[in-house]
Symmetry: C2
Subunit: 338 residues, 2 copies
């Protein structure tokens, strides 16, 4: 079939013996061109297999119709479903999504953000890394008035839109649930204090306890990186305390799973000996035995909404819509582990 000869508006123009500007306008359905010519041009474009050179147009327009996404890891279900939501919406609006992952490393995140900036994405959706304790790279966007939007893990020092779930309340509900089901000694494996989401989950935990007049037992508060290994280690420490907990609120499902495995190999009954609750509703949580109680975060919806919001902002740069923190409902899912 057709090989290299790439058709331009100039080819169309000379073929039709009209000017390139007319062709351009005709293709864009500009009312300044007569309907008749428009039809002719558009038909010819099809006949000759013309495809617009988006780069040239973008250069002129100063838009790339692209939004950048940075997440800690693409292969974590919560994030991939968020990306799925972003892509689905962006696609309907003709935006492209370019993705990159920070691997939870600040340096990599800085590089990703800088690259997206240099690639002139029209906006960026990001969930920051566990290490992110400064915001210079993010300022690149906010200072230059390029829309930036955080979801889930956000940077509190940057003014911008955010989409989060109510981690505080979720932490509260989880803990309240454990209390209600009769747990007396409730521990918590928390995530890095750098991230608000983990601080909030812990905050909810503390509030629920204090409201119930329960004090946090000695050594009942572990702070970890929430990996499989750290989770196991932390849980092991908890269970070797002189007075081990009978309920543990794990910072995420991964650590809850580690806990479950620890219980299995140490012949501890869940939830009889110790009740467990995780966070995120990873796909495996529903199918392990016993199935894991957890909090469902609407990843897809968050992504969808994020895309919606940032595209709105991209298309109304002048309109001063105030920044907003959108809190999505999360849902406590009680299963066999508690």
């Amino acid at each position: 079939m057709r090989k290299h000869p790439e058709i331009t508006i100039h080819d169309l123009a000379s073929e039709l013996r009209i000017s390139a500007s007319t062709v351009s306008r005709a293709l864009n359905d500009n009312k300044r061109i007569s309907i008749k010519t428009r039809k002719i041009v558009q038909q010819k474009a099809i006949d000759m297999g013309y495809r617009p050179n988006i780069l040239a147009a973008n250069l002129r327009i100063k838009k790339t119709m692209t939004i950048g996404v940075v997440v800690p890891r693409i292969d974590r279900y919560f994030f991939s479903s968020a990306i799925s939501g972003i892509e689905d919406y962006a696609w309907t609006k003709g935006f492209n999504v370019i993705i990159s992952q920070s691997n939870d490393l600040l340096i990599k995140e800085e590089n990703c953000v800088r690259t997206l900036y240099n690639n002139r994405v029209d906006g960026m959706i990001i969930s920051i890394s566990m290490q992110t304790n400064e915001d210079n790279h993010l300022r690149l966007f906010s200072d230059n008035h390029i829309p930036i939007l955080f979801f889930d893990r956000f940077c509190p020092t940057i003014e911008s839109d955010r989409i989060v779930v109510d981690d505080f309340n979720s932490g509260y509900q989880i803990t309240a649930h454990l209390i209600e089901r009769g747990c007396k000694r409730i521990a918590h494996i928390a995530g890095p204090e750098l991230l608000n989401i983990y601080l909030d989950r812990k905050g909810g935990y503390l509030k629920a306890l204090s409201e119930a007049g329960i004090s946090v037992g000695d050594g009942y508060l572990e702070v970890t990186g929430l990996t499989r290994e750290e989770g196991r280690a932390a849980f092991a420490r908890l269970m070797s305390l002189p007075n081990p907990p009978d309920g543990v609120f794990c910072g995420n499902d991964t650590t809850a799973l580690s806990a479950l495995e620890y219980c299995r190999s140490n012949k501890l009954k869940v939830p009889e000996d110790v009740a467990l609750v995780g966070f995120s509703d990873e796909p495996f949580s529903a199918v392990v035995t016993p199935s894991l109680s957890t909090v469902k975060q609407p990843g897809y919806e968050m992504g969808f909404l994020a895309a919606q919001r940032i595209i709105e902002r991209i298309q109304n740069t002048n309109l001063p819509i105030p920044f907003e923190q959108i809190v999505l409902p999360s849902k406590l899912i009680i299963r066999q582990s508690s």
Copy 2:
């Protein structure tokens, strides 16, 4: 900080009282420019906060430094880990990755491919949808000599590179394993015949059986879309046969999970009453009870390799490297379910 005034090479040029061409060359470390000037220009670029306009450069160069990716669904672990591999490698080479998902719909896939084509990606990595029974949209790339590479699910009628696992052999191994552990009546829940991967898995199953002198029992071969629901229905049909199987090779882990759940609710013991094997090693497979035997597909490695290969092709358009089908080793993982 700095607001709108975007700096161009011309600004640098006039500031330094030299020509734009010199600035351009200096920034690209062209040896035709004296080291001294190069240093000066580069420093000035930093001072003035210059950032190259990639669009302008790309327009000239006719490269976008972008590779497009199309997968059925981003939120499936196999695919998200492949994307992760793609992104990791592409990133080291300065390529951007733009993703889109077909949702296993041919129409959506066609649109995605066309969009990527119009966006002038330098190459495309794709795993086709379950419905893809024609290749016109894919010809858009191959006919125009834009590198295209398939991974996992490929289109046999398009000449191109492919990265796959040995589905035939994997299917063979799974079945042989079931035979070896004593199963006499082995069924298979296969995927759409449109896709080679499923045909091959089935082929391996058949070969192993015939080699062992076992014939396929009546109704022992189900062909489905491999979803949760279809899997359950198919498995239910199998188990209600007059002579139900004592070993089932499920086309993927999802259907194997459906089977497992069916067994649970129907008090069938796995693997005593019926042994189960899945395919893909989804994250949940290791943690369900009983844990699922399955075949591990190296998603991340496939993606990494795919990116490596396609970038190589992008950068050597003229060099006629012959197309290749790269077969990656898969690994049978035997767990409790068999």
